[in-house]
Subunit: 137 residues, 2 copies
């Protein structure tokens, strides 16, 4: 409960980037409330997102800025950016078309832990588009 | 897009803990869809959560397991655990009472970035309880 009053109760936006210079960002459908994906931003990605109004992340695997949807067309128009109490996590409330996950689902969260066999998963959604079409060269 | 087909399309639960042994967990109100908080779990916390049905996290600051609500009373009954495509992030769909954030708000996300002055925040919620009461010794 180490509290920095200014960070938790103040109105200055002081995003806390981790040791790798990243902050966690959750994309949430502004209409349905569905959580679509979780990704990371460095300062440049956050600045770009604020400036352009479209979600831009930092790809940890490719080590580069990544405007969501630049290849698939599934962009995220940012309606609002929320920050949590210790300012180390963001929610982007976004307007989107269907199919935000590269596997073909609307959301990246398309499986749930099986309640009776917790080492297994169950599908909770169906694919909404063909990723082979969306991501073809 | 480095894809491990088994992880992304399979039904085996293989949570991917990071270099610190942690996985990101988002608590989302199962009724309203509101995102309440983001915290971290090590394997023990995840096992405990699955076993007990109540959210248990790993506190990075205190370096110990932390059953949410053990002090404040604001526990989280876990209805469902969702996992994302690459299995490095969880959503806990939870039933809760009001006031999940230690600052006194229902959600930790009670401020938004000011659209016209992005270095400033605006409050988007009001406190729902007095944390000084809830956390008094």
């Amino acid at each position: 409960m180490a509290a920095d009053k200014n960070i938790e109760e103040g109105l200055e936006f002081i995003p806390k980037f981790d040791n790798n210079g990243l902050i966690t960002a959750i994309a949430q459908d502004s209409t349905t409330g569905q959580i679509l994906m979780v990704a990371y931003m460095n300062k440049e990605a956050l600045d770009m997102t604020i400036k352009t109004g479209f979600a831009t992340y930092y790809s940890r695997s490719r080590k580069e800025l990544w405007k969501k949807g630049v290849q698939s067309g599934h962009v995220q128009k940012v309606e609002q950016i929320l920050v949590d109490c210790d300012q180390d996590c963001l929610i982007l409330k976004v307007s989107v078309d269907e199919g935000q996950c590269h596997v073909g689902y609307n959301s990246c969260f398309y499986r749930a832990v099986n309640k009776t066999h917790p080492d297994a998963l169950v599908f909770t959604a169906q694919k909404t588009y063909d990723p082979n079409e969306a991501y073809k060269k």
